[in-house]
């Protein structure tokens, strides 16, 4: 039974093992964070709207980039799998994420002056991201996700209590863990490529 469970665990974690999704998602977060920060520093409404559009565009583009990279790098080396469809459709999940973003922005705007509410809300939001990541790290047995979760929480605490302006906190909490994900993902990809050299052209039966 243990052997069955181990085999299944490896299968579930396969799509995360090459580091490609991490690099792309991390890169997207760094970009979103930097554009957000620029929008705040320059104090431009145009840049703020652009950063919002940027967020959604990168979320969609990232999926395509990951798929393209996996077709070129991963699948010829260690094969292709397709995970079962998630219970919620992609459209519904997108709508849910959009709704959460809108609620977050609305609440933060409504309680703009209330520093304590802002801090608490922000930290709860960070935990909502970090805890599932930590759970993913434990379930998939990929410890580098714990590093990203830890960096996310640490960054959130530093920006919250370290005097960083409220309007810039999210930008930092995206950019720094994003950069961490790029680093850990690159390390994972290097290890993966070392372990699985490029196959022959006619590898498929």
């Amino acid at each position: 039974m243990n052997e069955i469970k181990r085999t299944q665990q490896r299968a579930r974690a396969y799509n995360l093992s090459d580091g490609i999704a991490e690099i792309v998602a991390g890169g997207a977060l760094v970009l979103i964070g930097c554009v957000s920060l620029a929008a705040n520093r320059v104090d431009s409404d145009t840049l703020r709207y652009l950063s919002l559009v940027n967020m959604f565009a990168l979320a969609l583009l990232s999926w395509w980039i990951v798929r393209m990279l996996k077709e070129r790098i991963t699948y010829p080396r260690t094969g292709y799998i397709r995970s079962p469809k998630p219970r919620l459709s992609y459209g519904l999940r997108f709508a849910l994420n959009f709704a959460i973003c809108m609620i977050t922005v609305t609440l933060l705007d409504k309680f703009k002056g209330d520093t304590r509410f802002g801090q608490a809300f922000f930290l709860v939001w960070i935990l909502m991201i970090s805890v599932p990541m930590a759970v993913l790290a434990i379930r998939s047995r990929i410890p580098r996700f714990l590093i990203i979760a830890t960096v996310t929480v640490a960054t959130a605490l530093i920006v919250t209590f370290g005097g960083v302006p409220e309007t810039e906190r999210i930008a930092f909490v995206m950019a720094i863990p994003g950069a961490t994900a790029v680093v850990t993902g690159t390390y994972a990809l290097k290890s993966y490529l070392k372990l699985h050299p490029k196959p022959d052209e006619d590898a498929e039966l």
Binding site: T7, Y75, G79, Y80, R82, S83, A203, L205
Partner: protein
Amino acid sequence: MSFEFSSDPDRVIHEPARLKIMSMLSVLDCADFIYLMGETGLTRGNLSVQLRRLEDAHYIMVSKEFKGRTPRTIASMTQQGKKAFKAYRKYLARLLKATS
């Protein structure tokens, strides 16, 4: 939960390589030949034989698709295969409980 020691496990699934294939396909929508070869450690010929055995038992479905000019052999579990694997797991659980 009683266990009949005279009962046999599903011999199609019970073989180690086929058990690994079924274990993987039970948590995936599908997997290709290269992935299955890497995970089972079997040679191409041997893996083809095991996949054919599972296909003959109607536990998996094997299809070929093309990604550009590269052919890809994909295996996925059928409903019958899912039921059989579930029954096999129950058999193992009862056996472990009876002998613990």
